[in-house]
Symmetry: C2
Subunit: 308 residues, 2 copies
């Protein structure tokens, strides 16, 4: 699980930061990439990475503000010319379907792949073999969602030595033990999986929130995430502005990370009023509350590793 | 009158060429800038120029393909945050109104300036003090327009020496002669403007065509332009592809420039199949037919001067 921040600015593109988009690479896990938000020129940013648009099979839209969706029609159209033929599903708030369908219809864009558009509500929105995704409504001027991506726990390793010790030698039976609770060997031994499988590996949890005010009520949703991606449009001094415009400050984002007991926090959606030289200050504010914080820049990448 | 090519590629953005947009600076003439097409990330390209979005007061859309319109909602929204408060008018084919209005409504974008959207037909679409614009339907898979921008002829210079010779000295009367066909001086002299104004200066003509197949019938529309901007998606060898996809070749664009007796031709909308090293070949093909040709690259600028 590897994140690439494709756009880390707020509202408008600037020379330093494009508008919102984050790619979550699940290539190792399921051979796909998921995209979170798709501001204008996201496809242009992707051109500067190794990401293949045809590998993107899910796009999650946090909310319908232009800086989060205006790159969608272009990316969807271009994917047709980049070898895309697999199903792509877009998840987003009510209105996303009309936006995409109107844009594609009026521009006479014909897609080479099936497109599914799911208008979401709160709760479990995806439950697949390896991943679950939950959505939660945040506190923004228009409906804005957060996503909690949960990797399902992985079965532990086969305790090969224990099997050999009781005379069960390597062969197809080993795979059967991994896949069934109880197995009988050819010579009649009954083997319970739990006796021959080590402790399961805890799956990873990544929480990516859309634009939002600070709300203590978000704690439970992001709790114990390995990684929290949170907006920090303003510095703490501008907390009033943040409240007025339904955004968060550095300190507020760090606070939710702390009370939510997450491992790591990445701040994004930084106002264009802040220049490169201001980011140390913004980072310091957050780290005072939650030390394991970083501020994303465009093309910033980080891996979220399985815990030992 | 100065053109800046903001995007010169066809269909998809590439690292070398963005999708279509051309800015026509009329800052000296009317203190405004006109934009022709607005592919995705046009506002990003503008960030790399000296163009002020609030100076753009007219946007002409040749046709509704995504590579010509997907930057429109973002540019319109951002202009609100860049000091835009003057009326902006968008001219384009039927459907442009629904596209813009749906995008702005669903993204909850509130503009700080009045926006007028005019769905055009063929003929005279603008007739203002200094400029006229005509539109013509071309030959593309969907309705695609060309625009002929005509600067009205400028009144010649006042023949100051002739006035002095007959005893009319510099003063407010000079301005009156410029503005009226007949003027009477305080001491009763009747002066006819035609006797005291030099030859009028021929206004400039720029023709900018949208995506189109070659059609000899376009000759009249672009005739005698100081500058013709024409698409050349393909090399001459690919004339069949050009016909199939409703586009033009280098040689075809040069042919219409030649038979239309224009002064200068600029080719744009170059397929991403052509790399930098291919452009000499493309240019040679065109120059064989029409020597005064250039191929636009992103950020290419050229001035169209008044003729002496
Ligand atoms: Zn935003
Ligand atoms: Zn085109």
């Amino acid at each position: 699980m590897e994140l690439t921040f494709l756009g880390t600015g707020a509202g408008l593109p600037s020379k330093e930061r494009n508008v919102s988009a984050i790619a979550l690479s699940l290539l190792q896990e399921i051979n796909h990439i998921w995209l979170f938000d798709c501001g204008e020129a996201t496809q242009h940013q992707i051109l500067r990475t190794t990401i293949k648009p045809r590998k993107i099979n899910k796009i999650f839209i946090t909310h319908l503000h232009g800086d989060h969706i205006f790159g969608l029609p272009g990316l969807l159209s271009s994917r047709s010319f980049q070898g895309g033929d697999e199903l792509l599903t877009v998840y987003g708030p009510s209105g996303i379907k009309e936006y995409i369908e109107t844009s594609l219809r009026l521009s006479c864009s014909h897609l080479s792949y099936p497109l599914s558009i799911v208008e979401i509500d709160e709760g479990l929105i995806i439950d697949e073999e390896k991943f679950q995704v939950y959505a939660k409504k945040l506190d923004h001027v228009i409906p804005s969602y957060g996503f909690r991506i949960i990797e399902k726990d992985k079965i532990g390793e086969l305790l090969v030595q224990s099997l050999i010790d009781i005379g069960v030698m390597p062969g197809p039976i080993y795979q059967q033990i991994k896949e069934n609770n109880v197995v009988q060997t050819e010579d009649g031994k009954v083997l319970y999986q739990k006796d021959f499988i080590g402790p399961s590996k805890k799956g990873r949890i990544i929480s990516i929130l859309g634009d939002t005010r600070y709300q203590e009520g978000h704690r439970e949703f992001i709790e114990n995430s390995n990684l929290l991606v949170h907006e920090a449009t303003f510095e703490q001094d501008k907390a009033n502005l943040a409240t007025d415009y339904y955004h968060s400050t550095t300190t507020q984002a760090a606070t939710i990370a702390k009370i939510g007991n997450v491992d790591q926090l990445v701040l994004t959606h930084i106002s264009s009023r802040y220049q490169d030289e201001d980011t140390t200050r913004l980072l310091d504010e957050a780290c005072e509350v939650f030390p394991n914080t970083s501020i994303a820049t465009d093309f910033y990448q980080l891996s979220v590793e399985l815990k030992a």
